[in-house]
């Protein structure tokens, strides 16, 4: 599913790049809270793990096989911020070192396979564990459903981007049907593997599963005389400091998004003007404007919807950012609730 160069037009590539950059910026701050001083080494290791796991092919249906996207799995195992960072790094490394995914499509790839899968996966996971309670079975089931939904969600966003600026003359409905169909199948495989993997890790090292932090019982000290005493877990402390000022991170994310969106929309709107000027300079403006517009990168965009190219570009940027921003807002609120939940419910559940 790594999108190559030339698959999407420049406006969509640039706006997706803005969303990806803003998302990664937010996650750089958030990951420090999830992993503190171990951020770089441990996130690097999880990236290597995801890279390896993406090579695990699993049989989907007769004759076809899919591979794990790993977004939901990473979010449940190491937390959403670290997960986005790890997937972004995996995609960067794949793009630059393995030529897997185009350099100009990096933003699209990070948005689709990093941000969307993790945000949707984590949102579903949090909502379900809230409903089902925090037992071991609930964590496993929730992570499976999260993985199941995260893959078609990613395919859906792909279809949306394709509708905004895909370079292929296929009906959006057909793309949605094809992408949706295949990715529901892949999603089922992803769900089975994610659930079983989380269950396997839970059985051996439940403390390593970020999504099951509430599961860890307090440390019991048994003295020689038979008395036992509880040691209060210290893990809630960093989460509390982070939860105290979530507004700052949100604000930083919005500012970065706005700045980048400004650049992107400037590009989207100024490009046809420049072209029209060239056309007029050459004296064929009146005759050839339509033709000239039809030959520059934003063309498919304006023609398909019957709206001016610059406006279409702006709408594209706006919609992409609104979707990205909305999802981010959702995940921020979940993150805050998680921090509060970690404080509130220190359950003993073995």
């Amino acid at each position: 599913m790594h999108v190559p160069d030339g698959f999407f037009n420049v406006a969509v590539s640039v706006s997706a790049g803005a969303v990806a950059a803003a998302g990664v910026a937010v996650c750089l701050r958030g990951a420090r809270r999830e992993l503190d001083d171990r951020t770089a080494p441990m996130a690097g290791l999880v990236s290597a793990f995801i890279f390896a796991v993406q090579m695990l092919n699993f049989p989907v249906a007769l004759g076809t096989s899919g591979h794990l996207l790993g977004g939901a799995l990473a979010a449940v195992l190491v937390g959403p911020y670290t997960a986005v960072l790890c997937l972004a790094v995996v995609l960067l490394v794949q793009g630059f070192f393995f030529a897997d995914g185009g350099l100009t499509a990096l933003g699209v790839n990070i948005t689709l396979m990093g941000i969307v899968t993790v945000v949707v996966g984590w949102a579903v996971f949090r909502a379900l564990t809230r409903i089902l309670g925090g037992g071991r079975g609930a964590v496993v089931a929730s992570s499976a459903v999260a993985a199941l939904l995260s893959v078609p969600a990613s395919a859906l966003v792909f279809t949306l981007l394709f509708w905004l600026g895909g370079n292929a003359p296929i009906e959006v409905g057909a793309v949605a049907a094809a992408m949706g169909g295949v990715h529901v199948l892949i999603g089922i495989g992803e769900a089975l593997i994610t659930g079983a993997t989380v269950s396997a890790v839970l059985a051996v090292r439940p403390d390593l599963v970020y999504g099951a932090r509430g599961l860890a019982g307090p440390l019991l000290l048994r003295a020689a005389d038979g008395t036992t005493s509880e040691v209060a877990p210290a893990a809630a402390a960093p989460a509390r400091t982070g939860a105290a000022r979530p507004g700052g991170f949100l604000l930083a994310g919005i500012v970065v998004t706005a700045l980048l969106a400004g650049i992107a929309s400037f590009y989207a709107s100024s490009s046809p003007d420049g072209l029209e000027r060239v056309a007029e300079d050459k004296g064929f403006g009146a005759v050839a404007t339509d033709h000239a517009l039809g030959e520059q990168p934003l063309a498919d965009y304006g023609e398909s919807g019957g709206i001016p190219v610059g406006v279409a570009g702006l709408i594209g940027v706006g919609v992409t950012l609104a979707v990205g921003g909305g999802l981010f807002f959702a995940v921020r609120r979940r993150g805050r609730r998680l921090a509060e939940g970690a404080r509130g419910e220190e359950r003993v559940d073995a």
Binding site: D5, L45, G195
Partner: protein
């Protein structure tokens, strides 16, 4: 993609392309990709010129064509998609050798094929002439967040370790007669993934403690001087510069 894969993507050498500072090459490759993507698909001649430019870079860097071709296998799924486009595409149709093909689909297929191929070749050449670690240091000089660069560096360092671990587990599975054939085998694959995660994570914790005991304070020391001279930027700028010139001709003519 097999284990120890990333050693084979870099071809050590001492050509002028190898000697350029990594940040120049990184920016040149990215700028070239942007110019390629921004080129109108009707401007067929431009893509031939771009391909020739890349061929010159490969020749100067002494990267054999076979090496580039082997690495281009990664593109195959999208080649299939591009070939399918004229058949499933909408709009006006044209008869070619008894097949009814969509004109718009032909253009779109050509567009994706040409741009994706040029992008892949540019990245392959970049990775072939630049050591992965240097590429990341170059990225850091280009103001990529240091934390992101560090994560990527640790990923590269751990990649062989994790992939080797995975290979050992696969050998163990297969030597016991396991072949993943259908859905019933998913639990086995998933348990391997779970074990791989635990083993890698525990190893990472040990390595982290070892690093701390050797004075790691959150950032790795940089011992090379990576500054680029104006001349080196100029040389690196030749590739995207010439490509941009070709693109400019389209709008002038």
């Amino acid at each position: 993609m097999g284990a120890g894969h990333h050693h084979r993507i870099h071809r050590p050498g001492d050509s002028p392309v190898h000697r350029l500072p990594p940040q120049c090459k990184l920016l040149a490759a990215a700028a070239f990709a942007v110019v390629v993507v921004a080129t109108p698909r009707e401007y067929v001649a431009a893509f031939a010129v771009y391909a020739a430019l890349l061929a010159v870079v490969a020749a100067v860097a002494r990267v054999p064509p076979g090496f580039v071709l082997r690495r281009m296998v990664i593109e195959v799924p999208f080649v299939v998609f591009a070939v399918a486009l004229p058949i499933v595409g909408l709009g006006e149709r044209v008869e070619v050798a008894g097949l009814s093909l969509s004109v718009e689909g032909l253009w779109a297929g050509w567009n994706i094929l040409a741009k994706a191929t040029l992008g892949v070749v540019a990245s392959v050449l970049l990775a072939a002439t630049t050591e992965p670690r240097m590429l990341l240091l170059g990225a850091q000089r280009l103001r990529v967040p240091p934390l992101l660069v560090q994560i990527a560096m640790f990923m590269l360092r751990y990649m062989d370790v994790v992939l080797d671990e995975m290979r050992r587990m696969r050998v163990a599975r297969e030597s016991r007669g396991f072949v993943a054939r259908d859905v019933r085998h998913i639990p086995v694959v998933a348990r391997s993934a779970g074990a791989l995660f635990i083993r890698s994570y525990e190893r990472g914790e040990r390595v982290h403690l070892a690093m701390l005991s050797r004075g790691y304070a959150g950032s790795m020391p940089i011992i090379q001087d990576l500054s680029a001279s104006r001349g080196q930027w100029g040389v690196a700028g030749l590739l995207p510069g010439l490509a941009l010139l070709v693109l400019g001709l389209w709008y002038v003519m």
